[in-house]
């Protein structure tokens, strides 16, 4: 069976179970021994895939990797029900077309912002620089945090 057709069949099966509740979907690519690039939209809670795509067979280099991941991501956005979902991804996905496609499909996004978007990064750094400094942790407790709209979570 051709991998692309197999992936499309699986995506059709997976899409049947999509609910309407808000959910987080992580998008990331994974190489299988530098041979096959798979790109998946995984549920945050379970790691179960919401959709998967296989990049076209191509030589592996940085440019191809970048284009392969983005091309697959755009294809996934276009063919996957995303209404109500929030897509998270690394800085590679932080580019205008991915954001536009996600929003057009009714999804939100939260992408890491790094130097590949210098203008937006400078703007974010400017916004962050104007924020009031964080209080020392020892002076923040649950009641204080909740009074000011925040909260504290301890994980041990």
């Amino acid at each position: 069976m051709a991998p692309h057709e197999f992936a499309a069949a699986l995506n059709g099966w997976l899409s049947v179970a999509h609910g309407t509740l808000p959910r987080g979907l992580a998008i990331d690519g994974k190489y299988v021994r530098n041979l096959v690039l798979t790109l998946g939209l995984s549920e945050h809670e379970s790691g179960a895939p919401a959709a998967i795509a296989i990049a076209v067979q191509a030589p592996v280099n940085e440019e191809t990797k970048k284009e392969g991941e983005l091309t697959c991501a755009h294809r996934l956005y276009a063919t996957t029900p995303l209404h109500g979902a929030t897509i998270t991804g690394d800085a590679l996905n932080c580019e205008p077309q991915s954001m536009t496609l996600a929003v057009e499909k009714g999804a939100g996004f939260l992408f890491q912002l790094k130097a590949n978007q210098p203008g937006a990064l400078a703007q974010a750094m400017d916004v962050a620089a104007k924020l009031p400094p964080l209080l020392p942790a020892k002076r923040t407790n649950c009641s204080t945090a909740s009074r000011y709209g925040g909260f504290t979570v301890s994980i041990r």
Binding site: A26, T86, L113, Q123, A124, L131, A137, G150
Partner: protein, 153 residues
């Protein structure tokens, strides 16, 4: 856009050798790429012995709000794709140690592994992967149960 709506979250993580303390702030930013108003999340990470940039930035389409959903999304991203999906495929199935150089074969096997992760979740199976493998190797009944939409305990 009015004043930034700032929320603070402190997540204390205890790791094996060091304690990481993360603080998150959510503030209003401006829209980019023609999308709706963006939120900028700045997180301060102080890890003992680490010399990394302590601030991370994220761009999102949701309006600024409580910090916890943003923190959950950031942590959920790594848990969802890197640990429960990619990590499972590499550790349990040794996907990266495939001996085959056949592109189509490896692609189809990767899709099958992803499908199995979905089946395990859909059937509500809580057994760890090694136990599932052992039970399916001992008898075909658990495997057939999973394929037929039943759970195994």
């Amino acid at each position: 856009m009015g004043l930034p709506h700032v929320r603070t979250l402190i997540v204390r993580e205890k790791t094996v050798r060091k304690t990481a303390r993360r603080r998150f702030k959510v503030a209003a930013g401006t829209s980019t790429a023609g999308t709706s108003a963006a939120a900028v999340l700045a997180s301060d990470v102080a890890v003992e012995g680490a010399g990394e940039d302590p601030v991370s930035y994220f761009l999102g389409s949701r309006l600024p709000g409580p910090a916890q959903p943003f923190a959950d999304l950031i942590r959920g991203h790594w848990g969802g794709c890197e640990i429960r999906n990619h990590g499972t495929r590499d550790v349990q199935w040794k996907e990266d140690k495939t001996l085959s150089g056949n592109w189509a074969l490896n692609a189809c096997l990767a899709i099958l592994r992803v499908a199995l992760i979905s089946v395990r979740f859909r059937q509500g199976v809580t057994l760890p992967w090694p136990q599932i493998f052992e039970r399916c190797a001992r008898s075909s009944v658990p495997a057939m149960s999973l394929i037929n939409g039943k759970s195994i305990k």
